[in-house]
């Protein structure tokens, strides 16, 4: 599908700039041009499509749906799926958390949403398709959903309500299963489009610098790091690689656009895919900044349990990916 982009990249590097086919600089630049164009196109399309879906599932509607319907266990899956289509801005995590809990949604279900939302979003999906192909993207999306469901179920079983901060408990006491009047906006698709387009522009404006820098670094690594370089240190047989890279990644934060291009190069140079994906999930899904934000609503004990359970699930996914792929 993207052969024409490769042709453009080849033309610029080998014809216009006349770089030699063997030079590392040529490799790096070719990779950079090809990937930048391909990924920007993919991301734009996917953000737009997800924007349309998301326009029909605003958070208020999701909240009301989850609190009103008895789903016999399926609510974790629904929460996770909504996390996929809802864009995640980490500064919204607290209002969202409180909104959900006020609506009477169980803590575990809320966690399912909170876990899947940052992991599986339009930017990550676009990048994954561009860098790893559709098959791995589907696997990633599924694992993000499963991760959310499993973490949610586990966390729900720990009965952690008592670890919410006093301020939140106050709000809950006064809220009484609040369901805000959700005034459904009956807009036709064509009416929603201008808003969606401006959303696409806003998101792109936010991530383009990171994507470009990420791809640039990836490009340099692509050209200058020898093939199989990492294999000696991090083969599939090294059992400690997965947990160590995951745990290292937890406090780190980068959005998907910055970290994925680099992860792709690491994989191309020999790091097992499972280890790399576990690393990426821990970087994007959990972070020190997020923990700081959550301190307002959760006691440190609750945050640690939350992070601990999710980290464990990520490590397990890492091992599973290494085995399957």
């Amino acid at each position: 599908m993207f052969d024409w982009v490769q042709n453009i990249a080849d033309f610029i590097v080998y014809n216009t700039l006349e770089l030699s086919r063997d030079s590392k600089l040529a490799d790096a630049l070719n990779f950079f041009i090809y990937d930048s164009i391909k990924i920007l196109i993919l991301i734009t399309v996917i953000i737009f499509l997800m924007g349309i879906i998301n326009s029909y599932f605003p958070v208020e509607k999701v909240r009301n749906f989850l609190s009103r319907n008895k789903l016999y266990g399926l609510e974790y899956l629904m929460a996770s799926l909504f996390g996929v289509v809802t864009p995640f801005c980490s500064c919204s995590s607290i209002p969202l958390f409180i909104g959900f809990v006020k609506g009477g949604i169980p803590l575990g279900v809320t966690f399912s949403f909170l876990v899947t939302s940052p992991l599986v979003n339009e930017v990550a999906i676009g990048l994954f398709i561009g860098l790893f192909g559709v098959k791995i993207t589907i696997l990633y999306v599924l694992s993000g959903i499963v991760l959310g469901v499993v973490s949610g179920v586990i966390l729900q079983s720990f009965k952690l309500e008592k670890h919410l901060t006093p301020w939140v408990k106050e709000i809950l006491k006064n809220a009484e299963k609040e369901q805000s009047k959700y005034i459904s906006e009956h807009q036709s698709l064509s009416q929603r489009i201008p808003i969606i387009i401006s959303e696409v522009r806003n998101i792109l404006r936010g991530i383009i610098p990171y994507v470009i820098i990420g791809i640039a670094i990836g490009g340099l690594m692509h050209g200058y790091i020898p093939e199989g370089f990492f294999e000696q240190y991090m083969s599939k047989d090294n059992l400690f690689a997965v947990p160590i890279s995951t745990i290292m990644a937890v406090p780190m934060y980068s959005n998907a656009s910055g970290v994925l291009p680099i992860v792709q190069v690491l994989v191309a140079k020999g790091i097992p895919l499972g280890t790399a994906i576990a690393f990426m999930m821990a970087v994007v899904g959990l972070s020190l900044p997020e923990a700081m934000l959550l301190k307002k609503v959760m006691s440190i004990k609750l945050i640690s349990i939350f992070f601990g359970v999710v980290t464990l699930c990520i490590i397990i996914s890492g091992y599973l990916f290494n085995i399957i792929l």
């Binding site: 801005c89 919204s92 959303e199």
Partner: protein, 78 residues
């Protein structure tokens, strides 16, 4: 007659962008309005929003969870 505009947001880039767009629209159209940025999460929660940035005009939440366009703001404030 002066409208009271509040921008709810904990300080991430989106919230700052919203504030600057509103400031521009108010200045360009010479609206009589005050703009206040609410960053304290406890205050924000009083408006029952679930995603930021959010815009409140005279006590009513008019924009939730996204950066409004200049045209939208113009329509809302006139």
């Amino acid at each position: 007659m002066s409208k009271e505009i509040k921008v709810l947001g904990t300080g991430c880039p989106k919230c700052m962008q919203t504030t600057s767009i509103i400031t521009e629209v108010v200045a360009e159209n010479d609206f009589d309005a005050s703009i206040e940025k609410v960053e304290d999460i406890m205050e924000i929660m009083k408006y029952n929003v679930m995603s930021t940035p959010a815009v409140v005009v005279d006590g009513e939440v008019v924009i939730k969870g996204r950066i409004p366009s200049k045209q939208e703001l113009k329509d809302l404030l006139s």
